[in-house]
């Protein structure tokens, strides 16, 4: 059987061969840049305010102490955040309403001149909640279980 016949074994040069990753050197020397690791002039830092209840809504948020902290540029909540046109992608649907779907959900953000100030200011935001009971207990015997199709 000649090498060009239909059933001849495939001769490979790169497939199946061990390769050093092209970006390998950059990654092992700390030179590879991730996310925001690019030189910026005067970057601002953001720290989130997160829901401490699992279900319900924000009744009110007091951001005065946070905003008053030296070095804080802005405090964003659903009351002043930009409106997103479509709610098709819920991953992007942040700060659009006071509804809380899970504990830890971002319900606000502090923008400040340093990480430490942003974090401290986030701690100063006072949130009142309308808390609803949550049910995260997956167990047999629940009356709302069903077999997926």
């Amino acid at each position: 059987m000649s090498a060009d016949a239909p059933n001849a074994p495939l001769r490979t040069r790169s497939i199946g061969q061990p390769l050093a990753r092209l970006e390998g050197r950059a990654k092992v020397t700390g030179a590879a840049r991730y996310a925001w690791e690019h030189d910026l002039e005067h970057p601002l830092n953001v720290y989130p305010v997160q829901a401490t209840i699992a279900r319900g809504s924000v009744a009110s948020m007091n951001v005065e102490a946070a905003r008053a902290l030296a070095g804080v540029v802005a405090v964003i909540t659903h009351e002043n955040a930009a409106k997103i046109r479509s709610d098709e992608d819920k991953e992007l649907w942040i700060l659009q309403s006071g509804d809380i779907g899970f504990r830890g959900q971002f319900i606000g953000a502090v923008i400040a001149e340093s990480l430490e100030i942003a974090r401290h200011a986030a701690d100063l935001v006072r949130v009142q909640y309308d808390q609803q009971p949550h049910d995260a207990d997956f167990r047999p015997g629940r009356d709302d279980l069903y077999a997926p199709e």
Binding site: T52, E116, R119, H120, D123
Partner: protein
């Protein structure tokens, strides 16, 4: 993290003086627990006094054949020291079983004793906690209790002390040397940490402004036959569900002397005196080991989420003693 002033202590007297009259100040050692708790909002000092450059970094033999360990000795250095490895292997093993290589290089002896519980409710400022603020209630009771106490707890707090080193040191009858504004004192380690009672906010008997300078271990020749056995959810880098520090002196199949302490099960390292009494002068049989465990665990009051710890601790104690007795045979 709330803002704070940072200063480095030049000498011990200066460090202690910096604390006096400043209730919001705290000593800083390796920072592996304190810096984390400051970031979580659990600790809010307005001043940190860094004591790591004070000359408490030696491990020295004492005239009675024991050892004095400086408060600033790093956990990894203590674990690797030839004197400790040879004479108190339980202590070396306990240290090596804790945390990670990086954390062991940072953590100090004193800091290890003073570290606080990792109870998830204590560490989360959004869940009520009597240890953070007496009277707020205990969120662990009726909650997630896998890592909580089965001995010595109270209705106010069921948290567990997380240190492995302290468990070994309690078994070895360690003494804590403390410098205060006007005096020095020596506190038996077994009395240093408290049970929660109705003051769970107080982990130790240390007064504000007192600085640990050293931990002393008395000579204990049979401690060369000792070990630390730790049971946890992961093979490494996890806190104990239960742990046992044990030293055993055996002659002709009979127990001449024993030291036992438990970790992962109480607000303080638990010196198992009832188990020790049950063992002294008795033969080294599994049945006797089990009786000793039962004697100590008769007082156990587990939570729904940690009832497994009773049997687990019993099994761990029996296994630890069997290993030591087997090595002695």
């Amino acid at each position: 993290m709330t803002p704070f002033a940072y200063e480095r202590a030049g000498d011990a007297a200066q460090a202690v003086a910096a604390m006096a009259g400043n209730p919001g100040a705290m000593f800083l050692g390796g920072g592996t627990n304190l810096v984390d708790h400051m970031r979580l909002g659990v600790a809010t000092p307005d001043r940190l006094v860094d004591v790591t450059r004070l000359p408490f970094d030696r491990i020295e033999e004492t005239p009675d054949g024991g050892v004095r360990i400086g408060a600033n000795v790093r956990n990894s250095d203590l674990a690797a020291h030839p004197l400790i490895r040879a004479r108190y292997p339980v202590l070396s093993q306990a240290l090596l079983s804790g945390a990670s290589g990086q954390l062991r290089n940072m953590a100090t002896t004193a800091g290890n004793l003073l570290q606080r519980t990792r109870c998830v409710y204590f560490q989360n400022v959004d869940t009520p906690c009597n240890k953070r603020r007496p009277g707020d209630g205990c969120s662990a009771l009726g909650g997630y209790t896998r890592h909580h106490a089965i001995l010595g707890a109270s209705e106010h707090c069921i948290a567990v002390h997380p240190s492995d080193m302290a468990v070994a040191m309690v078994a070895l009858d360690a003494t804590v040397e403390v410098l205060g504004p006007s005096s020095e004192r020596r506190i038996p380690l077994v009395d240093f940490h408290r049970l929660p009672g109705d003051e769970p906010n107080r982990d130790t008997v240390l007064r504000h402004g007192e600085l640990i300078t050293a931990v002393a271990l008395p000579a204990l020749p049979f401690a060369v036959h000792s070990l630390y056995r730790k049971v946890r959810d992961r093979r490494s880098f996890a806190f104990a569900l239960v742990s046992v520090a044990a030293a055993l002196q055996v002659r002709d199949g009979m127990i001449e002397d024993v030291r036992l302490a438990f970790g992962g099960v109480a607000h303080k390292p638990w010196r198992a005196t009832r188990a020790e009494e049950t063992l002294r002068g008795q033969p080294t049989t599994p049945g006797q080991f089990a009786r000793a465990a039962d004697a100590e665990l008769a007082a156990a009051q587990p939570q729904p989420g940690n009832a497994f710890k009773v049997k687990m601790l019993r099994n761990t104690l029996v296994a630890a003693l069997q290993e030591l007795a087997g090595a002695a045979a």
